[in-house]
């Protein structure tokens, strides 16, 4: 085996320019593939980064009005979601956990002295933190806890922007704010990536119920889901939950306006679908470039075989079997593709890592315009393994046709050929 390599290596070394030209197209092909894949990953990682601090497996329900008459009940009836939903949903669906109802109220401003800020007041349970991206940084107090709920305390967790407007540089913790003539004690300030105009501030659900909403039920019920991986699973879950709620609240399961449903998992899957599309596209282009490289090598090898007709004739006359000739040409091709492909791969990885290094780690977005679109444009190790495999296959493919041609050389004709 070592002997065979020596034999081939000496041939390659003595035909340096040819070897280089042959290999270059291969190196270029694999370089392009890696860079393209890296760029594709950059876009993917960039977009996914924006999802990073958000749960991607939650469903939100909003009560609506029935659009169809059902079991003798008229259309236009309000559906009311209340405290019975939580045990009901958790019992009916074992995928459901952390059911988090919410009462929201918009309109009045938040006041602190003469300063005021617009915003939405939300009554929530502690589990709200698991659904929405709510980050309480060190020194910023705490979120709503069970005791707040039990005792229906008048405490509030402000959004960082609201806190900024009301308190400027002062510490809001322990201070009181006025919302619709009720004083709330600030116990925490939270950050999130929500850039919308009206940030939410949270009070205990029970407090909100007592003060604003004794009758009307919840504004929204969010829940986390477990074990729904595919689009089909998500769709069937959505159908099931509508049907279950329809039985409970007596509306038709096809009645879409009775309960509005938003499934972020499906959204996320759709995004993933887009990324898979991008990845596929990149692979197709990259493989196209690679194939061009393979065809280039194959072409040059064919010419080479033609040039070396006499050499192969001599080799056959002195005892080279067809098998050894086939191996000679194919191994030669394989060595060129593997060696130059590897160089191209290293160059490609170098470029992607350099880009990554220059760009630095992605920063949390600070405004709507600042959405991250490109992050960590590198390739995973398994890609490198795949690329190695692709290289070997490419080398064998590129070598096969020329090798067949070399095998078919007839020694008598080759040796007569002056």
């Amino acid at each position: 085996m070592f002997d065979d390599f020596q034999e081939i290596f000496s041939t390659l070394r003595k035909n340096k320019l040819r070897t280089f030209l042959t290999g270059f197209s291969m190196a270029w092909g694999i370089f392009m593939l890696i860079v393209l894949l890296g760029a594709g990953n950059g876009i993917r990682n960039g977009i996914l980064f924006n999802f990073a601090d958000m749960a991607t497996n939650f469903v939100k329900l909003w009560p609506g009005r029935t659009a169809q008459p059902y079991e003798g009940l008229q259309a236009g009836r309000r559906v009311k979601l209340d405290s019975t939903e939580r045990p009901f949903l958790e019992e009916q669906f074992n995928q459901v956990y952390n059911v988090s109802p919410l009462i929201s109220r918009r309109g009045p401003n938040f006041y602190h002295g003469d300063d005021y800020a617009p915003g939405v007041l939300q009554g929530v349970l502690p589990g709200y933190q698991n659904v929405e991206a709510v980050e309480i940084r060190a020194g910023n107090g705490r979120f709503i806890n069970e005791a707040d709920i039990q005792q229906a305390r008048k405490v509030i967790v402000l959004h960082s922007r609201t806190a900024g407007l009301l308190f400027k540089d002062k510490n809001p913790l322990g201070a009181y704010i006025n919302y619709d003539k009720v004083m709330y004690k600030v116990v925490g300030v939270y950050h999130d990536s929500n850039m919308s105009q009206n940030p939410n501030s949270c009070i205990p659900l029970t407090t909100a119920q007592l003060i604003y909403n004794p009758e009307n039920g919840y504004s929204q019920v969010a829940m986390l889901l477990d074990g729904l991986e595919t689009k089909a699973q998500n769709e069937s879950f959505e159908t099931d939950i509508r049907a279950a709620l329809g039985r409970k609240h007596r509306f038709d399961k096809e009645d879409r306006s009775a309960v509005y449903l938003y499934n972020v998992a499906r959204e996320f899957l759709q995004f993933k679908g887009i990324f898979n599309g991008i990845t596929l596209f990149v692979w197709i282009i990259g493989l196209g470039t690679l194939i061009a490289g393979v065809v280039g090598i194959s072409n040059i090898m064919l010419i080479t075989v033609k040039e070396r007709t006499k050499e192969f004739g001599i080799r056959k006359a002195i005892g080279a079997t067809p098998g050894t000739i086939l191996r000679l040409v194919m191994t030669e091709c394989l060595m060129i593709t593997a060696f130059f492909g590897y160089i191209g791969m290293l160059a490609g990885i170098g470029v992607t890592e350099l880009l990554n290094h220059v760009m630095g780690p992605a920063q949390a977005p600070t405004s709507q315009e600042d959405l991250v679109l490109f992050t960590n444009p590198t390739v995973e190790p398994y890609i490198i393994l795949t690329a190695t495999l692709v290289l070997i296959i490419a080398g064998l493919l590129a070598g096969y046709l020329p090798a067949r041609r070399a095998v078919q050389v007839k020694p008598i004709e080759a040796l007569r050929y002056e």
Binding site: D3, S10, K316, A317, I318, G319, A320, T321, I412, L415
Partner: protein
Amino acid sequence: MIRLEDINKTYYNGAALHVLKGLNLDIEDGEFVAIMGASGSGKSTLLNIVGILDDYDTGSYYLNGKLIRELSEKDAAVYRNKLIGFVFQSFNLISFKTALENVALPLYYMGVRRGKRNRIAMEYLEKMGLAEWADHLPSALSGGQKQRVAIARALVTNPQVILADEPTGALDSQTSIEVMELLQQVNREGMTIVMVTHDPEMASMSQKIIKIRDGIIGSIEHQ
């Protein structure tokens, strides 16, 4: 050693060309035979058949007692490697290999290890008086030197027979004589040599001249 019985060979290149017409020939072990004949008489075809480079249509060819007929390409290559050494008019050395590497190549195909094969090849180059040219490429050698490298390559596997196709055809008269003397010396050491030539002077340096005429043996002259 070589036994040809009623060999027929026809080429089909547009029109059928019956080249060998029932040729019979025996060549004994240790003989130095020159085959002569006009252009198109079939002498090259005969050499190709004897060298297992070409197959024949009917008849039988025994080399060293073994029937050589419709061999697979692989078997033919193995027989050529073991039993036959070729010397060609145009030397047919591989241009990017040194003299030593050219001589060692048949041993590579025989599966001899690198160290051993270079040692054997070097022995044969020394025998040809080319030891100091071992690292030269063919392009740096004179015609006579190239042919001596080719003879070393033919001998290196210690074959049963050397087939030489116009070995002096590309050489000047002085060098031709030197190469013929070398072949005579190889023959004296016991090697069977079959040489095709059209040069009577070269043919006269062999032991037996076989004239091919029209696809059969015309005459056999013992020297």
